[in-house]
């Protein structure tokens, strides 16, 4: 068919025969009652009586009105329930046609990460982890759950991580990058210690709900488009906190995945951190190496929503710097800014680069068979 794509060379990079790992798939509840079978009666009653207490106004509503249907791909609505709630549609529309060998579930809502009532948060966390197992991973072995824990209750988080540690259905640990404090703070260290011990990466997905702080350093944005940019600066804040507080130094086997926060900023941030470290090292003597060393060794990045420079070769240079073994493909299905594996790269990848980004990096990181 003679259709000219925006950058025609892109279509040649289709990983047509390559099985892929998608590092960002969002499952959804058909209704909040889907969690009921996994919640103790005490918390079902609490939920029905009081509802949830998210750390933002307008609970039950997205913080920003989205330009697409509630932030979803318009073609991803099943007959019943919201996008992401129907496994059959997910298979037909994504897993099967895009050759997904493994899909990493990112369950962001009602997992306790943003719930202020910590006892309720713990119950939600345990419930959402059971729900992922029963509703998704058991019926669809291509999918892998994340251990969702409330980062503000490190003691419970550690117990929940240990509870799931022997189950290969759980590939990583999800906490919010918009926590009450920057994530390098020591209150969160028990979670990193448990992650290192249980050999699970910490997954940080840009999060719609904030820990009470504005999403930019200068206050709340006006437009969703601004909020979308704020996710990249928020990720930079998180990385600098983890580096300078000494988290990576203290937990050298800890692995952190930064999801949906972009990656073109990584080289510039590292250059700046290294420059300042050379001059101000005395303030942070806990760092024994240049900051960029920690980032290169312990941080992984996902592709979506990929940066699209006018000259696609510039993106290849950025990845050369970050390392082709640190970037992992993701789609964000079923969200509106989904990246298609056949179209995502607008330049030609080598076979080795393709294998790494679309599959091998994730399989190694998550120890997938």
């Amino acid at each position: 068919m003679n259709i000219s794509l925006r950058r025609p060379e892109a279509s040649r990079d289709a990983p047509a025969s390559l099985a892929i790992v998608d590092c960002d798939i969002h499952p959804a509840y058909r209704t909040p009652a889907d969690l009921h079978p996994f919640l103790p009666a005490r918390w079902r009653e609490h939920m029905a009586t009081f509802g949830e207490h998210l750390r933002q106004g307008l609970s039950g509503q997205l913080a920003w009105p989205r330009m697409m249907a509630a932030g979803m791909r318009v073609d991803a609505f099943p007959d019943e329930g919201p996008p992401g709630s129907d496994l059959a549609l997910m298979r037909a529309q994504h897993l099967d046609v895009n050759g997904v060998e493994y899909g990493m579930l990112m369950q962001l809502s009602r997992g306790g990460m943003e719930e202020r009532n910590l006892d309720f948060a713990a119950a939600l966390s345990r419930a959402v982890n059971d729900w992922q197992l029963e509703t998704w991973v058991k019926p669809e072995p291509r999918l892998r759950a994340g251990i969702v824990v409330p980062q503000e209750d490190a003691a419970f988080a550690v117990s929940e991580i240990e509870r799931r540690a022997d189950d290969p259905a759980f590939a990583q640990i999800l906490i919010s990058p918009r926590a009450s404090d920057p994530l390098g703070h020591r209150r969160y260290w028990p979670i990193y210690e448990a992650a290192q011990r249980c050999r699970r990466p910490i997954a940080l997905h840009v999060q719609g709900f904030s820990g009470g702080h504005a999403s930019t350093g200068s206050g709340w944005p006006t437009y969703y488009m601004q909020e979308h940019y704020a996710t990249t600066t928020g990720m930079q804040n998180t990385v600098t906190s983890l580096v300078f507080e000494g988290v990576f130094e203290r937990f050298p086997d800890l692995k952190v995945v930064l999801i949906e926060g972009g990656f073109a900023w990584v080289p510039a941030l590292c250059w700046r951190m290294d420059k300042h470290w050379e001059r101000l090292r005395k303030e942070v003597p806990q760092l024994t190496r240049p900051p960029s060393d920690y980032v290169r060794a312990q941080c992984w990045f996902t592709t979506q929503p990929i940066e699209e420079p006018d000259d696609p070769a510039q993106l290849a240079e950025v990845i050369d710097w970050i390392g082709w073994d640190r970037l992992m493909f993701s789609t964000d299905y079923p969200h509106w800014d989904f990246d298609d594996p056949r179209q995502v790269f607008k330049f030609k990848l080598t076979e080795e680069q393709k294998r790494k980004v679309f599959r091998d990096n994730a399989k190694a990181l998550y120890r997938l068979p």
């Binding site: 794509l5 318009v74 298609d340």
Partner: protein
Amino acid sequence: MSRQVVAKASEVEPCAVKVVTVRGREIGIFNVRGEYFALANRCPHAGGPLCRGRIVALVQSEGPGHYALARHNEFLRCPWHGWEFDIRTGQSWCDPKSTRARQFRVTVEPGAALVKGPYVAETFAVSVEEDYLVIDLAAAATPPAA
């Protein structure tokens, strides 16, 4: 034979789309106030199912604080990334010079003419009483932008 009968004209309602498959190609047929246009169901940006998107107006602004809707139901917004295309021309609003959805010429023909031929109606019988939409796979509806 590059021309093919694809639908009764009455099946494509104003401000609506009907997606048909012609020789393996999905094509959306649009009715813009009685005029018919046909676009490939494939977004030139990233391959999304373009014709499953919403039919919208163009939001315009003379400056901060002012906005106006224009050209109601003449634009198509891709269901994936929200790229907007002019249904009449297939041109992208943000990148009109180099991004264009594939367009086909579509004409309305009376059934009486079609029954005589030479057009192909593979999937249904043509009756003389109605008007039909005929797509020409070989012809772009409008010349490419200069």
